[in-house]
Amino acid sequence: MSPPPASSQMSSPPAGSPALGSGAAAVHRWVEHTGELELELEAGSEREVLAEALEALGQLLAGDDRPSDRIGAQRTIRVSAPDPPALLAAFLEELIFLAESEGFVPCALERLELRAGELEAVVAGALGRPRPLVKAVTYHRLAFEPADGGYRARVVLDV
């Protein structure tokens, strides 16, 4: 039910780094929330934010059983939404549905096409027993917007 330990989530310097522009490494972190799980993301581009969101969710679903060494499945996701925050939520919602319905644990974003209000992604992953935790992706304090030359996003997951 909980995210991995904070120390394992930083793939680059912590949030607050002044420059997020092109070339900046992507970051995600789980923020304290009494009832649910709150995820913050920072990266140099929209694509990198979505890839980092996938990485964070994959770690969460895999728990201690990181399946990256046995990637063998691939799924294509197509979603549309009226704005970037809703598109991020729709993307994560599809990943959660695949975990719940097929036991698909996402590991890597293989291909991503982003058009206005639409997203098509090919996701590599493993079939297994994801941790039973996320019920839904909420719109509470949902954000995905340009910031400091890059992009910042926030999403709260209902658990």
Partner: protein, 479 residues
């Protein structure tokens, strides 16, 4: 940490005045003592409570029960009533787990009579009631359930088609297990896909099955009416509408979000997305929500059936037949009710209906003592049975709280508690434990929750409900 200024109404009631947050249409009120309030101020609960008061058509006050904690959109423990003519319905104000709730069963024997058969019974309960969400347990629901009928009729569909439960079980369920206006056609194909195969499964997170003994009776007359006596063994079931309900909420939050501009509604938080009760979106959601609520009651009925099967296996079929359902209450739902002569849509998000003695919606055998209300604590502490009181109609739209309320985040509690050690500690205290994972067990540790005794005392002092019995856990199965 909330910096909102509160006005004290009396010893246990506080107010966030209208105007404290832009767009508030009514004040917001909270029931708590000073110690609970200090914990409540530690997260964003009060801001979420104030945001509830911005919804169109909200009447009197946005309310919070003493177990309030930070959620999404509404706080958990939030209650808001919307005028039936001019108000809105908000899927996020009901929550993703539509009709998450609790059902209490009473066995015809005492803890002493159960004796050494406690451990085998907990084992058998864990074997028969699937837990988890995706993967294991996801598709182990009762076979042969007709989903269309379940969505339309709730547990009655299981009773008539599969012989699950009894007429008495159906009658002793809030709304007789069937919300009027259920519209199965308003439930999406994806919601059906997620829910199919999940009837009779517990789920994950804070869902649980608990074997208990009645430690103390506080109110003898109500206890007699409910059929509870000291040292009696009980089983408390906490589950909801599983993936089906989660998807219904997701579908309608999005649909209403897209319609906000058309309805000229501005909100401080997208999760509060809503639509006028009479609009196409509002009517469709109410139909889908009622169908999901019926599904949840059927789910708890099927879990209760599996509990009785486990009792039959360990204690004999006569004991299983004599295991009686006391009641089943919803704690995530929106219902049209009459309050103060007005028809309103009461949103209860992590809150329990608590109608007082004499209310016509209470089953006949309980009507003189008030509606049964169940307030689970945490697995190491106690749960309470209460009976609704008149104060609930004057102060909280006929509502009491639904639990102890979380105090610590899952991350914080895992820093403080180690799952294996917690299991040993609980077992040393006479509580047999079965959990899907040590990590999940740690996240639901007693330390994660507020003091349920204090929460229940506030409910009683405010006059929302009165304590009837305290139940002490002797076995826990965690989802």
């Amino acid at each position: 940490m909330s910096e909102l200024q509160l006005k004290r109404i009396d010893s246990f009631e506080w107010e966030i005045p209208r105007g404290a947050v832009a767009g508030m249409r009514v004040p917001a009120r909270l029931f708590a003592d000073e110690e609970l309030l200090a914990a409540i101020r530690g997260d964003r609960s009060l801001e979420q409570l104030a945001n509830m008061a911005t919804l169109p058509g909200v009447v009197d006050w946005a309310l919070a029960m003493p177990d309030i904690h930070q959620g999404y959109g509404f706080p958990v423990g939030g209650v808001a009533a919307m005028d039936a003519e001019e108000g809105v319905v908000s899927p996020g104000g009901v929550g993703y787990d539509i009709n998450c709730g609790v059902r209490l069963l009473a066995l015809p024997l005492s803890a002493a009579e159960l004796g050494a058969r406690r451990e085998p019974l907990v084992h058998e309960l864990a074997r028969r009631v699937p837990v988890g969400m995706g993967g294991r347990g996801a598709h182990e629901g009762v076979r042969g359930a007709n989903l269309e009928r379940v969505l339309a009729e709730g547990p009655r569909a299981l009773l008539e088609e599969l012989g699950i439960g009894s007429e008495e079980d159906v009658r002793l369920t809030e709304s007789a297990g069937r919300l009027e206006g259920a519209e199965p056609a308003a439930v999406s194909a994806r919601a059906r896909e997620r829910g199919s195969g999940q009837i009779g499964t517990l789920g994950s997170g804070n869902h649980f099955l608990e074997l208990q003994r009645v430690e103390r009776i506080f109110e003898a007359r109500a206890a007699r009416a409910f059929g509870l006596s000291e040292e009696q063994v009980t089983v408390l079931i906490h589950s909801g509408s599983r993936g089906l309900g989660h998807q219904v909420c997701s579908d309608y939050v999005k649909r209403m979000d897209r319609a906000l501009a058309r309805h000229r509604i501005e909100l401080p938080d997208r999760q509060l997305s809503c639509a006028p009760l009479g609009s196409p979106e509002g009517r469709a959601y109410l139909g889908a929500m009622a169908a999901a609520a019926n599904f949840a009651w059927a789910n708890r009925a099927a879990i209760a059936h599996r509990v009785r099967e486990a009792i039959a296996q360990v204690l004999g079929s006569e004991t299983a037949r004599a295991t009686r359902q006391i009641y089943d209450v919803a704690h995530n739902v929106a219902k049209l009710e009459l309050h103060g002569g007005r028809l309103v849509c009461v949103h209860r998000k992590g809150a329990t209906r608590a109608f007082p003695p004499g209310h016509e919606e209470i089953p006949a055998e309980y009507r003189e003592v008030g509606q049964p209300v169940f307030i689970p604590g945490s697995m190491g502490t106690a749960s309470f049975v209460l009976a609704g009181r008149e104060g609930s109609m004057r102060r909280s739209f006929g509502t009491a709280c639904h639990g102890a309320g979380r105090r610590l985040s899952r991350t914080a509690v895992r820093r403080a508690v180690e799952g294996a050690a917690l299991r040993r500690e609980l077992e040393e205290r006479g509580i047999a434990v079965r959990a899907a994972s040590a990590r999940g067990l740690a996240e639901e540790a007693p330390e994660a929750y507020k003091d349920v005794e204090r929460v229940v005392e506030v409910v009683e002092r405010v006059g929302l409900a009165v304590r009837v019995a305290r139940l002490r856990p002797i076995g826990v199965i965690k989802g």
